[in-house]
Symmetry: C2
Subunit: 67 residues, 2 copies
């Protein structure tokens, strides 16, 4: 299976944000992530890197949550 | 294996842009795609949707190629 783990890029490294991600849809300044169970999470952020072979998606939050 | 096919979103549908994509790295307003052989392609564009289960990445060109 090709699910990925989504990580948030932090000052001190990567923090696991979501497992078993199957889709990522950018919408305006947000990213909508869905996992294999159909759960979804939305963050105000951008994609830093997608690595399909190591099943890893790195995201970066672009706002401090004040929007 | 989890390589994906990258498509460009066109007025009349999707056009295959690159096969066996293993990584996508946004950099400023461009996207750098690499395939399993190490070849890379760069486009001025953005990610529309990433579907890991159907191995499909949809991209959209954001400039007319004049940059």
């Amino acid at each position: 299976m090709c699910e990925a783990k989504a990580y948030l890029k932090k000052e001190n490294g990567l923090e696991l944000f979501m497992e078993d991600v199957v889709s990522i849809t950018p919408e305006n300044s947000t990213l909508i992530l869905k996992d294999i169970l159909g759960h979804s999470k939305t963050i105000e952020g951008k994609i830093v890197e997608i690595g399909l072979l190591d099943h890893k998606v790195v995201l970066e939050i672009t706002s401090s949550g004040n929007l």
